[in-house]
């Protein structure tokens, strides 16, 4: 079964083949090390349910809708992944996104700022908010639940005050409006898709090369190629669908291309995946979340890390807020309110992030956010009354989560947690 034997730092190792690798993977899956597989399974089940119930669900138009509908959840959830990684919580993320969105809208509309100054101002607001929250948690030692509950209330008030006690403020800046509502041109869509695939392939192949050059075990080339192929198929098929004409009224105007939010999501997904997986900072996050005391003993500046996650959390919330305002063409006192927060935390958790810290990835927010968005989107097509809608949404959420839980559960019973 084993073929070549190389040495890595004095410890004997076996060079895996494609067959042994697949075997290994299957062993891990049976052993409970499932990664995001169950969440993806849950997502597929959901899509099938809705697709069978309403045939518009699988249309290009509806597929494109998903991106802007899910953007706010996904961005807030991505920020929350960092907060949850430390076992903290940020209840104020929803209204923080509202406040940041409102600041942008006010600067644009009431003060006539340009988008390239108003947008950074909104993001800066997010960063400041996060810093204050993090400081209170890290330096005063107040539980984050209480700090952010207080902030949840305070931001709601600030939002009301900013909007002069409940007014809606419209935005007309075309750049900002485009963010959530427009699409890349077809050419640009393809360009992005191809760049993404090529970049992924290069990174993968480069890793193999570097490791091989150092005499370390590498994934067999077959597996690497398979991985590249799978990603290429997903991205290219999605691009193909999204570059079709999907206008409701094609005579009047044409709507096609990848929604602009898609590359924005992809950008942050790549950045945060890189930060969490490949940088010292990311490593330290996991360490503090897994065992704060061990991290402290290893000389990691725990307080600073703790502050930083709230900064990232609120910063991502500000991005979510900007996109929410763009999508609504306006900001109102409830922007970032209602279920936004619970749904965002839910997205992170469904995607596989632990509420107890130490476990989570940026992709969790995207997968979980997709689950939440698909539920919302699908339910919107069903045309239920309010009461029924709530009940069915709850049940559907439960179904999606139990596909995941049951898969893991079965695996856990083998003793491997």
């Amino acid at each position: 079964m084993t073929t070549t034997t190389t040495t890595a730092g004095g410890v004997k190792v076996v060079k895996p083949t494609v067959a042994s690798h697949i075997n290994d993977y299957w062993g891990r899956v049976r052993g409970g090390d499932l990664g995001s597989l169950p969440a993806v399974l849950g997502l597929i089940v959901l899509c099938l349910i809705f697709g069978v119930a309403r045939d518009t669900f699988f249309g290009a138009l509806n597929f494109a809708n998903l991106f802007s509908q899910g953007a706010q959840y996904i961005f807030i959830a991505m920020g929350l992944v960092f907060v949850l990684l430390l076992g903290e919580i940020d209840l104020s993320a929803g209204f923080a996104s509202g406040v940041c969105g409102a600041i942008m809208a006010i600067l644009l509309t009431n003060h006539g700022w340009d988008w390239y100054t108003a947008l950074p101002a909104a993001m800066l607001t997010g960063i400041v908010i996060g810093f204050v929250l993090g400081f209170l948690v890290a330096k005063f030692g107040i539980p984050s639940f209480v700090v952010t509950l207080a902030a949840f209330l305070a931001f709601q008030g600030i939002l009301l005050k900013l909007l002069g006690g409940g007014k809606n403020i419209s935005i007309t800046d075309s750049f900002v409006l485009k963010l959530a509502n427009s699409n890349l041109s077809v050419a640009l869509s393809w360009a992005f898709a191809i760049i993404a695939v090529v970049a992924f392939a290069l990174v993968q192949l480069n890793t193999v090369r570097t490791r091989a050059a150092r005499g370390l075990v590498t994934d067999p080339m077959g597996i690497v190629l398979m991985r590249i192929g799978a990603l290429a198929i997903i991205i290219l098929v999605a691009t193909a669908i999204l570059t079709q004409e999907r206008s409701i009224n094609p005579v009047i105007n044409s709507v096609k291309g990848v929604p602009i939010v898609a590359p924005i999501i992809a950008f942050f997904l790549i950045v945060w995946t890189f930060v969490l997986g490949k940088t010292t900072y990311g490593r330290h996050l996991y360490a503090v979340g897994g065992n704060t005391e061990a991290a402290r003993r290893a000389g990691i500046p725990v307080d600073r890390i703790r502050i930083s996650v709230f900064v990232i959390g609120s910063f991502m919330a500000s991005i979510g807020g900007i996109l929410a305002v763009s999508r609504a063409n306006s900001v109102d006192p409830n922007t970032g309110g209602s279920n936004i927060l619970l749904y965002s935390v839910g997205a992170a958790v469904i995607g596989g992030t632990s509420l107890f810290g130490g476990k989570g990835k940026a992709i969790n927010a995207v997968v979980g956010g997709a689950v939440i968005t698909v539920i919302d989107n699908g339910m919107g097509l069903m045309g239920y009354t309010a009461g029924t809608k709530y009940i069915v949404t709850g049940l559907i959420l439960l179904i999606a989560a139990s596909v995941d839980a049951l898969a893991r559960r079965r695996a856990a019973s083998t003793g491997n947690r």
Binding site: T2, V14, D24, G27, G31, D219, G415
Partner: protein, 271 residues
């Protein structure tokens, strides 16, 4: 081997995902005897104990207790049979105090009310018999105990009950000189009372001092189970480190036998 074993396990396999940790392991525990279970770090001793006590489900193999084949699915089943275990990872509740931990799962009651005075008294007696002298209060939280104090609490917890088999996984690792002597004496006393005792230890002096039989695990395989009087110190060390010694132990190693498993380093790239 005239006496029938009290606890007998045979053919146990256990894998964690792709990694097989125990291969066809058999072990017999006799009443009135101390069986020492030895083996290198990572040989699978603790895993074997956890399989016996129902913490892990076994992949295949049988457990026979008192002549009857039994299925142990959870620690409850094990303690119902009278199997008591001191785990290497002590498994104490840091948020409870010493008395609360010692009686966990088997609290004394008067009516529906916990009988704290009785438990406190019994806990005090047991600890005193184990040479504990530096505990400030029986109501101290376990979180604030020193390493050795924690270990003593875990041992005291396991010997409070009328059990038939006691398994101790490296019970003296963190103990001081006096406490170690006390625990070894306790182990001997338990066996003399007719219990089956399994003692896991890396200290060969202790093993030879108290054990009647020695079972040696090597890389998840049972290399040998022998009478203590039949072997020498160095033979056991050889069994531990090489899996065989002279004519006892595993058959000579064929490269393909273990090679694949020991050294299979999962590539770092695919995490």
């Amino acid at each position: 081997m005239a006496a029938t074993p009290l606890l007998e396990i045979s053919g146990i396999d256990k894998s964690f995902g792709p990694v097989q940790v125990l291969h066809d392991v058999s072990l017999s525990v006799y009443p009135g005897e101390v069986t020492a279970l030895v083996g290198d770090n990572g040989a699978g001793k603790s895993t074997l104990v956890k399989c016996i006590s129902g913490i892990y489900t076994i992949d295949s193999g049988t457990v026979t207790f008192d002549g009857n084949q039994v299925a142990i699915h959870s620690p409850r089943d094990a303690s119902a049979l009278g199997i008591e275990v001191v785990y290497q990872d002590l498994a104490l509740c840091d948020n409870l105090d010493i008395v609360q931990n010692m009686f966990l799962g088997r609290e004394k009651k008067r009516g529906i009310v916990l009988d704290e005075p009785t438990m406190e008294q019994m806990a005090g007696d047991t600890l005193a018999s184990l040479s504990v002298r530096t505990v400030k209060s029986l109501r101290q939280l376990v979180a604030s105990l020193s390493g050795g104090q924690r270990q003593t609490v875990a041992i005291a917890k396991a010997v409070l009950w009328n059990s038939r088999v006691v398994i101790l996984d490296e019970p003296t690792a963190a103990l001081g000189v006096a406490q170690t002597a006390q625990v070894l004496e306790l182990v001997r006393r338990l066996a003399d009372q007719g219990l089956g005792v399994v003692l896991i230890s890396h200290n060969m002096n202790d093993v030879f001092a108290v054990s009647d039989r020695i079972a040696a695990l090597y890389l998840g395989r049972m290399a040998a189970q022998v009478k203590t009087t039949d072997v020498t110190h160095s033979q056991i060390v050889e069994l531990i480190t090489a899996g065989r010694s002279g004519n006892i132990g595993l058959p000579p190693e064929k490269p393909s036998d273990f090679g694949g498993e020991i050294v299979d380093i999962t590539p770092g790239g695919d995490k």
